[in-house]
């Protein structure tokens, strides 16, 4: 328990005493928010899951896509 408290205090004091780090963390958090809460959800869905359910259907979908693009 004492060790956990020491680790907590280490991080707590580290974050509290940051100067430049606060700006950098703000940038990191904004960036992660844009990436995961906006880009991933609205612009980068799992394409294959939107076309087929289950492993077998997905495999069949991939084959049908490949067949469309063959050289014959």
């Amino acid at each position: 328990m004492n060790v956990l408290k020491k680790i907590f205090n280490f991080y707590y004091q580290g974050f509290r005493s940051m100067t430049l780090g606060k700006t950098l963390w703000l940038i990191i958090l904004i960036k992660l928010f844009i990436m995961f809460a906006i880009l991933k959800i609205f612009f980068f869905p799992n394409f294959l899951s939107s076309k087929a359910d289950g492993e077998n259907e997905k495999a069949n979908y991939i084959i049908s896509e490949m067949e469309k693009r063959t050289n014959k």
Binding site: F10, Y11, Q13, G14, F15, S17, L20, G21, T23, L24, W25, I27, I28, K31, L32, I34, M35, L39, K40, F43, F44, P45, N46, F47, L48, E55, K58, A59, N60, I62, I63, E65, M66, E67, R69, T70, N71, K72
Partner: protein, 509 residues
């Protein structure tokens, strides 16, 4: 379809190039910080601690802005390249998962001690944390490069026609692939060059401004010899890369050299200008309108034999050229026929399975297995699609080699000056060269990736999957939209990084 492929590739390239602005400095400057802190640990001199802390701040800014930029590439795999993502199965996933776990546990744990731990943990523990952060970052790079190496030279897997996925059968064959290992060392050591160039460039600026001169000189004292080690190892591993490319991706080598007609005793084009009128299968035009060649070197670099035949683009398309092992390579047309058989056999297998026709299943499976090594050629409609962008590959390769080698001269001069105790300030051109070296080092580093990735086109997975079968059936307009969003986001983040970094540099040590 062409627009979709073009924009999907452009978006991936944009993200990868942006991501690669941060990685080399993290890997290169990290080692330099480790050496500086080791000097502090051994000497106990406060000045070394101050120097270490300054460069650690630059490292931290770069790390913070760059962190997670690679994840955007993974978003694109799932959306823009879903056929590819499915087809590669766990082979791509396993190294990336290892990378993610290592990056999280090693980098994020020890980087906290690196920044928060001054005067809170012992000097030895802090030093160990710094080195473990650097080591963790490099190991992360290893797994990404293992995944990339597999795309360039797919081994250690079998294709499962039921799931339409490649399944890993030999983890160590994938992890220890000669392409991946060579790529790892070439990439990491080239990052050392970028780190050294950045450290020297910023220190040169301080010397030109006559500020913090002692600390700037001490920084150069570490960065310049480290840079020499970096560039020598980069050259050595670059030679290994050329050898691997000659064996596994001869079309890339031909594009790098602008070589259309193969030859024995092939020379290396040291400097050259491509003839823009040269086309595939055109035997009339001269490929290079200007060239300075070094005799025999290409044969030697590619095959370790000055008399070896190096196939050109036309030979690779026509096939039947002489090889080291005496085999007769297939022509592009033969490979396309074989690939068509493989793709057709896969469709027949799936249909036969649905109809429970075991005889056709077995027969089509045999055809698929026999032709699987050419599977990707089944999507090639015209053999000219097999030729990468020769001009971009050719010039990027020359830029990388010529300007990359120039760093050996710069680092050697700086090391010599330091060794002879000659004042850098008297040679302002040298200091200006150091500053110019920063953007040049980044361009050289990016050029290396252009050679590696543009040179292997059209393949996403060598011989098994071209870009046009890997891309998802999206609307091109949606890819253009996200491309524009990325342009804006990356520009804003880059401006933020540079302004914070410049402000920090101006503050000084």
């Amino acid at each position: 379809m062409e627009d979709l492929i073009l924009w999907s590739r452009a978006q991936f390239a944009l993200t990868a190039i942006y991501h690669w602005l941060f990685v080399p400095l993290t890997l290169g400057l990290g080692v330099i910080i480790g050496i500086m802190e080791t000097a502090y640990y051994r000497s106990g001199k406060e000045q070394w601690k101050q120097i270490t802390k300054f460069w650690m701040k630059i490292f931290g800014i770069n790390f913070a802005i760059g962190v997670a930029t690679g994840i955007i590439l993974e978003f694109q795999f799932g959306t823009n390249w879903s056929n590819y993502s499915w087809f590669v199965g766990d082979i791509f996933g396993a190294p990336l998962a290892i990378e993610g776990i290592l990056a999280f546990f090693m980098e994020s744990t020890f980087i906290a001690i690196m920044f928060f731990g001054w005067n809170k943990v012992s000097k030895g523990f802090h030093l160990a944390s710094t080195w473990l952060t650097v080591f963790g970052a490099s190991i992360s790079a290893l797994w990404i490069l293992v995944a990339n190496g597999w795309m360039q030279y797919p081994i250690g897997m079998t294709f499962n026609p039921d799931t339409v996925r490649n399944e890993m059968t030999d983890f160590w064959a994938v992890a220890l692939s000669p392409i991946a290992i060579n790529k790892f060392f070439h990439t990491v050591t080239s990052c050392w060059v970028v780190g050294s160039a950045a450290c020297i460039g910023i220190s040169s600026w301080f010397l030109l401004k006559n500020r913090h001169t002692e600390m700037a000189k001490k920084s150069i004292m570490i960065a310049a010899p480290f840079g020499i080690i970096g560039i020598l190892l980069t050259i050595y591993t670059g030679d290994g890369s050329a050898y691997q490319v000659a064996q596994k991706q001869p079309m890339k080598l031909a594009a790098m050299e602008g070589l259309y007609q193969g030859t024995t005793k092939a020379p290396l084009v040291a400097v050259g200008i491509l003839n823009p009128h040269e086309k595939v299968m055109n035997n009339e035009a001269k490929p290079l309108s200007f060239e300075i060649k070094i005799p025999y070197i290409l044969s030697f670099l590619g095959y370790r034999d000055v008399n070896a035949f190096v196939p050109g683009i036309n030979d690779l398309l026509k096939g039947g050229y002489p090889t080291q092992d005496g085999s007769t390579p297939l022509s592009a047309k033969q490979k396309m026929e074989s690939g068509t058989l493989a793709v057709k056999a896969l469709s027949e297998y799936k249909l036969a399975k649905r109809e429970n026709n075991t005889y056709v299943q077995e027969k089509s499976l045999q055809t698929l297995k026999a032709n699987y090594s050419n599977f990707g050629y089944g999507f090639i409609k015209d053999e000219s699609q097999l030729v990468p962008n020769v001009a971009l590959t050719f010039y990027a390769f020359r830029f990388m080699v010529i300007f990359g080698s120039a760093f050996l001269l710069l680092f050697s001069l700086l090391t010599y000056f330091n060794f002879k105790k000659i004042s850098y300030e008297r040679y302002r051109w040298l200091l200006y060269s150091g500053i110019i070296g920063i953007p040049v080092a980044y361009l050289v580093s990016q050029s290396g990736w252009i050679v590696a990735e543009v040179g292997r086109q059209p393949w996403v997975i060598q011989d098994l999957m071209p870009t046009f079968s890997a891309v998802s059936s999206l609307e091109a307009s949606s890819v253009i939209t996200t491309f524009v969003i990325f342009c804006v986001l990356f520009t804003v983040l880059l401006i933020a990084e540079l302004s914070i970094m410049f402000k920090q540099i101006k503050k000084g040590f």
